[in-house]
């Protein structure tokens, strides 16, 4: 099962590094604006985004047939993040996630399985072959990127945990530590962040646990040290900084669905025909583009691989 390298991402759309390099310098000079802003409260004005410096290179990463051949730049991927534990603004995680301590890191495995345990991250990674997986990434907010993740199939780890026949769903819990995560001091969302997948979705070969980006250790703002990538689903399904994996019988109540059940579903499959109540999902903006002119693909272009998981399901109802 190979994903054809997508011709729908022309090289002209790869983000220029220059774009994001010295925004900060410029911002400092805009003091008059800053004063005006201060008068009415610091607000949405674009703040300097701070891309991560490149981390340690990961060894023995092999290429994957699941990859597309285009990518968004490191600078963009690491300076534009939806990671509410570090603030609701997209440039905040790059600044505020520095306080996150990712070593040591443990992942608790609980619920319907034969091997419940608290795993050290090293044990989660032991024996895994890391792969480069360049995935299209589609946010529910109708923007998209192409991201070269480094990771391994979640299925490999799940098998190791030996889920029982009662395990129908997998629930992921992200770290929520007000000491390290400024955003969790404010009840903007019900913390901790919870996400979930149906067992067959979790076992699908496209679903990976991510530990790296561009061959380097995953930057904190992108959900280090361990996050999920489920490329046919909207970005909010990609649980970050995972500390707990629980096998459960009932469908987990994922955070955004809890926050707004009319707007965010459990499945959250990318679907151009099912609009978000507040905007159309038919098209998207491939960042850093300005125009919302790219046709969104069913299952984010991974329909050949995953459509069978949902045969017979009403995708409008199960959005």
């Amino acid at each position: 099962m190979l994903i054809k390298s997508s011709a729908s991402i022309p090289s002209s759309e790869i983000t220029d590094k220059r774009l994001y390099m010295d925004r900060r310098t410029f911002m400092r000079s805009a003091t008059a604006l800053a004063t005006a802003r201060a008068m009415l409260g610091a607000d949405a004005l674009v703040q300097a985004a701070q891309p991560a410096s490149h981390g340690k290179k990961l060894e023995n990463v092999r290429a994957s047939g699941y990859s597309t051949d285009e990518r968004t730049t490191w600078e963009q991927i690491t300076s534009y993040n939806n990671y509410y534990e570090f603030g609701a603004d997209k440039e905040q995680p790059a600044r505020l996630a520095r306080t996150l301590v990712t070593e040591p890191w443990t992942v608790a495995v609980e619920g319907e399985c034969n091997k419940p345990a608290v795993y050290h991250l090293e044990d989660v990674l032991k024996g895994r072959t890391l792969e480069d997986r360049v995935y299209r990434h589609r946010c529910v907010e109708a923007w998209s990127m192409v991201i070269p993740w480094v990771g391994f199939p979640l299925a490999d780890f799940i098998k190791k945990c030996e889920p029982t026949s009662r395990a129908r769903f997998v629930e992921f819990t992200s770290l929520s530590d007000p000491k390290q995560m400024l955003g969790t001091r404010v009840p903007v969302l019900p913390w901790p962040y919870v996400e979930g997948l149906r067992m067959d979705e979790a076992m699908h070969p496209l679903t990976i646990l991510v530990v790296g980006l561009y061959g380097k250790v995953l930057p904190n703002q992108n959900g280090a040290p361990l996050r999920l990538a489920v490329p046919w689903k909207y970005g909010f399904k990609h649980a970050k900084s995972i500390v707990k994996i629980r096998f459960v019988e009932q469908q987990p109540l994922n955070t955004w669905r809890r926050q707004g059940p009319q707007e965010y579903g459990f499945y959250a499959n990318v679907n151009p025909t099912v609009d978000h109540p507040r905007w159309s999902q038919a098209t998207e903006r491939r960042l850093p583009g300005i125009f919302k002119n790219r046709k969104t693909l069913l299952f984010n272009g991974y329909a050949d691989q995953v459509a069978s998981l949902y045969s017979g399901m009403d995708l409008r109802k199960n959005f």
């Binding site: 410029f26 008059a32 949405a44 404010v186 926050q259 960042l287």
Partner: protein, 223 residues
């Protein structure tokens, strides 16, 4: 220089340039590639937030005048209001072009069909999505105010009727706050701040009207 001349040749031009600064900054930032990886979001947010700010500032002129007794501030109100309309129009235009127009399969060149197609792509969106509905309503409220902002129009309408019409500013500001509120995903603290500011500015008016209505009675008693 008389104070009249100072207002005309110094204060007003300075205010004009200052009010233009956010737009100028956006243009410079866009041209020099200083915006975030999602430039459209930046442009949309900035123009939207500045609309709201100018509405607040405009609405603050009358309370400021009442409280300070400085009647001169009223000479800046029109320009500030027009800047609210200016930023609101940029905001609307961004949505029309980058969101609606871009989502269409366009034949080469812009033709009349394009305008029709744009209207077809926009109207259902405006009607279907409440946050866009109120945002658009806010702009629609500002439109007649901008059109009747000249001295000639004030004369033609007559001061009383003109004043009544221009109370639409209150509706525009309230709708703009609602638009912002319904737009954010989770963290409503910023829309709350604007709601508070607009709320206070409107409450001040209610209080002032209540006071002036009572005033003659009070005077009689005092006399």
């Amino acid at each position: 220089m008389t104070s009249n001349q100072t207002v005309r040749w110094v204060a007003k031009p300075a205010l004009f340039l200052g009010s233009l600064a956010p737009a100028a900054w956006l243009v410079v930032a866009a041209l020099t590639e200083q915006l975030s990886p999602d430039p459209l979001a930046d442009i949309t947010n900035e123009t939207g937030v500045w609309t709201l700010r100018f509405l607040c500032i405009t609405l603050a002129m009358t309370p400021l005048r009442r409280m300070t007794g400085w009647n001169g501030v009223i000479r800046f109100r029109r320009m500030l209001g027009l800047f609210a309309f200016f930023y609101g129009s940029l905001h609307l235009l961004t949505y029309l072009v980058a969101d609606r127009l871009a989502s269409l399969d366009l034949p080469a060149g812009i033709a009349w069909q394009t305008v029709g197609a744009l209207a077809n792509a926009t109207l259902p969106d405006v009607l279907k999505r409440p946050f866009i509905t109120v945002g658009f309503a806010s702009w629609l409220c500002m439109l007649p105010l901008a059109l009747t902002s000249t001295a000639g129009m004030i004369r033609r309408l007559g001061g009383r009727r003109w004043q009544l019409l221009h109370r639409l500013t209150y509706v525009a500001a309230a709708a703009a706050v609602l638009h912002y509120w319904w737009l954010v995903k989770a963290d409503v603290r910023r829309p709350e701040t604007y709601a508070l500011v607009v709320g206070l500015l409107l409450i001040f008016r209610a209080w002032w009207w209540g006071r002036s209505a009572r005033a003659p009675v009070t005077r009689r008693v005092a006399a």
